[in-house]
C-alpha cells in the first residue's frame, strides 16, 4: 500500500492540532515548530489553509480555493519561525498519521 495524506482545505477550521501532534510524533513534545505540516492564517481576511511537506509530492498546498502539489520548499512562516525548507518531510507516522486521526473535520485524511 502506498499511503498518502489528502487535504480538503475548505474543511479546515484552523484548530492547529495537526501541527502539534506532528511535532509530538517526532520529538515527543508539544510545539508547532518541527511539524511537517504548517497552518497558515491571514486572520484579518479569514484566509487560512495548510502546507504539508511530503517525500513523494514535494509541498502540498492546501489553500482554501483548492489543494495542489509539487511545489518546491522555500522559506515560510516569517524569519523568526522555522521555515518548511528546514523541516522533515512527513513520514506518515509509520503508517498511522496522527494528524488525520485527530483532525476533527476530516480535512486531513489518509488515502491509498
Amino acid at each position: 500500500m502506498d499511503l498518502r495524506l489528502k487535504l480538503e482545505p475548505v474543511k479546515c477550521i484552523a484548530c492547529g492540532v495537526c501541527e502539534m501532534v506532528c511535532s509530538m510524533h517526532r520529538d515527543s513534545v508539544l510545539t508547532p515548530m518541527t511539524s511537517s505540516i504548517i497552518l497558515h492564517i491571514e486572520d484579518k481576511a479569514n484566509y487560512f489553509g495548510l502546507v504539508l511537506k511530503t517525500k513523494s509530492e514535494g509541498l502540498v498546498l492546501g489553500r482554501p480555493e483548492g489543494a495542489s502539489s509539487g511545489q518546491q520548499a522555500s522559506g515560510s512562516g516569517g524569519p523568526g519561525a522555522k521555515p518548511i525548507l528546514l523541516r522533515e518531510a512527513c513520514d506518515l507516522c509509520d503508517g498511522h498519521p496522527k494528524c488525520a486521526k485527530i483532525c476533527p473535520t476530516k480535512c486531513i485524511t489518509v488515502v491509498d
Binding site: 477550521i13 492547529g16 502539534m20 513534545v29 510545539t31 515548530m33 491571514e42 481576511a45
Partner: protein, 387 residues
C-alpha cells in the same frame, strides 16, 4: 515540568527593566494571578496561561489577563502562543513614560516604544507590530483610541477581534501608556506520556463530536446567528487552538461571502461576541450593518454593547453612520456589557475553573464540564492526577 515552562516574567514599564522568577506551580491556575498581584502590586497586570493550555485536550486554548478584580480570557491562538513564549505568567508593573508595547518571545520580554500609537487604531497597531517584527504569526492584544483615553467602555482586541474583554481591560492598558502586548511562541511543552495523551484526547474529542450536531460556527452556540441574513453572509468557521467545534463565524460584507481566494484585505469580521449581536438585534441593525459596526468598534477599541446601548439611548433608529459618530465621543459612554464567555455557565465558579485549567468555557459548557474525563486526559500529559 510537564505542560509548564517553570518561569514567570516581570517587566517594569516605568524603567523597561525585566526579570524572572521560577514558577514551581504545577497546579490549577485560578489563584496564581491574584497571588502575583499581591506580590507585585495591585496595579500590576498579569498575563497567564492555564495548566492545560496547549495540551491536546479539546479547546485547551485559554490564556488570561488579570488586573484589579477583573480577568478576561485570551482566546484564538493567542493563549497557546503565550505559553510557547517560554513564560507561564507575565507581570507588567508601573506605567511607561512613553507609548509603546510589550514584545515577548523566546523567553525574552521587552518594552518597545511606539510613539505613533495614539494615532493608530487597534488594527493598525497589530499590523505595524507584525511588520516591524517581521512575523505575521505574532499574536497581539491591542488597544485603540478608546483604550488610550481610559474610557470605562474600552475593550482590548485579540489580533483584530473583540469579544473577550468585557471588563474594561482596554482602559487599564491606556492608563499605563501601553498600546499593545505582542507575543510569538516558538517553544515547546513536555508531556508525560505523549502516546497516551494523544489517544485519550482523540477519544475525548470524538465522544464530544458524536453527541453534537454538525457544527455551524456561531450558530451552533447562538440561535440569533441562524437567521437568513446572517447565514447568507457567512464565509467560513474558524476555531481557536484545539477547538473541534468552533463558535467563530466570519461574515464577509465587503465581497462575495463565497469568495475563497485572498482578495480584499478587510472583507469582513469574525463574530463570536454574542452579547454584541444581541444588542445589534435590539438596536435594529441587520447582520450586515452589525458586522460593519463591530469592525468600527474593534478598530476603536470600544466595547460594542456599550456603544450600541448609547446609540439606542440617543436615537430610536441608530444606523452605522450615527454609531460611527458616537465612536468619536468615548468619554461619556458607560460600560453596558454583562459578559460574553463569562455567561457560558450558570455558576461563575465553573467559568473560573475553566480559565484556570486553560479550557474554553463556551466549548466546555456546550459539551458538559466533566472534570473526571478531563482529569483522565490531563493525567497522561501531566504525569499525575489533576486534583
Amino acid at each position: 515540568m510537564n505542560l509548564r515552562n517553570g518561569k514567570i516574567g516581570i517587566i517594569d514599564l516605568s524603567t523597561g527593566e525585566s526579570s524572572e522568577e521560577d514558577f514551581a506551580g504545577d497546579v490549577l491556575t485560578e489563584g496564581v494571578p491574584r497571588e502575583l498581584l499581591e506580590k507585585h502590586g495591585p496595579d500590576s497586570i498579569v498575563l497567564g496561561t492555564g495548566l492545560l493550555t496547549g495540551s491536546l485536550i479539546p479547546a485547551s486554548c485559554v490564556g488570561t489577563l488579570t488586573t484589579g478584580r477583573h480577568t478576561m480570557p485570551i482566546l484564538g491562538h493567542a493563549g497557546i502562543e503565550l505559553k510557547l513564549t517560554g513564560f507561564d505568567f507575565l507581570v507588567l508593573k508601573g506605567k511607561a513614560s512613553n507609548w509603546g508595547y510589550i514584545w515577548i518571545r523566546d523567553g525574552i520580554m521587552e518594552f518597545v516604544e511606539m510613539p505613533e500609537s495614539p494615532q493608530l487604531n487597534s488594527w493598525q497597531r497589530t499590523e505595524k507590530i507584525r511588520s516591524d517584527q517581521g512575523d505575521s504569526k505574532i499574536q497581539v492584544l491591542s488597544g485603540g483610541p478608546w483604550c488610550d483615553a481610559g474610557s470605562p467602555a474600552a475593550q482590548l482586541v485579540v489580533d483584530h477581534w473583540g469579544g473577550e474583554d468585557k471588563v474594561g481591560m482596554g482602559a487599564e492598558f491606556g492608563k499605563r501608556n501601553l498600546a499593545a502586548v505582542a507575543f510569538r511562541g516558538m517553544g515547546e511543552l513536555e508531556v508525560a506520556d505523549p502516546e497516551a495523551h494523544f489517544e485519550k484526547s482523540v477519544a475525548l474529542m470524538r465522544g464530544h463530536l458524536s453527541r453534537l450536531a454538525l457544527n455551524k460556527g456561531l450558530q451552533s452556540y447562538y440561535e440569533g446567528a441562524a437567521v437568513d441574513d446572517f447565514v447568507s453572509l457567512a464565509h467560513r468557521y474558524i476555531g481557536c487552538y484545539g477547538c473541534p467545534y468552533p463558535c467563530r463565524s466570519y461574515l464577509k460584507t465587503e465581497e462575495d461571502p463565497k469568495e475563497m481566494r485572498l482578495m480584499h484585505k478587510e472583507p469582513g469580521y469574525l463574530h463570536y461576541d454574542i452579547p454584541a449581536l444581541e444588542m445589534a438585534t435590539k438596536v435594529g441593525l441587520s447582520p450586515r450593518d452589525a458586522t460593519r459596526v463591530l469592525v468600527r468598534c474593534a478598530r476603536a477599541g470600544a466595547e460594542p454593547v456599550a456603544v450600541m446601548a448609547a446609540a439606542l439611548a440617543s436615537s430610536a433608529h441608530p444606523d452605522v453612520v450615527s454609531i460611527d459618530a458616537l465612536l468619536a465621543r468615548h468619554d461619556d459612554i458607560r460600560p453596558a456589557s454583562k459578559g460574553n464567555f463569562e455567561l457560558s455557565f450558570p455558576a461563575l465558579k465553573d467559568y473560573e475553573t475553566c480559565l484556570g485549567l486553560g479550557l474554553c468555557p463556551r466549548y466546555w459548557a456546550k459539551v458538559g464540564f466533566d472534570i473526571g474525563a478531563i482529569s483522565s486526559c490531563a493525567e497522561s500529559a501531566l504525569g499525575h492526577k489533576l486534583m
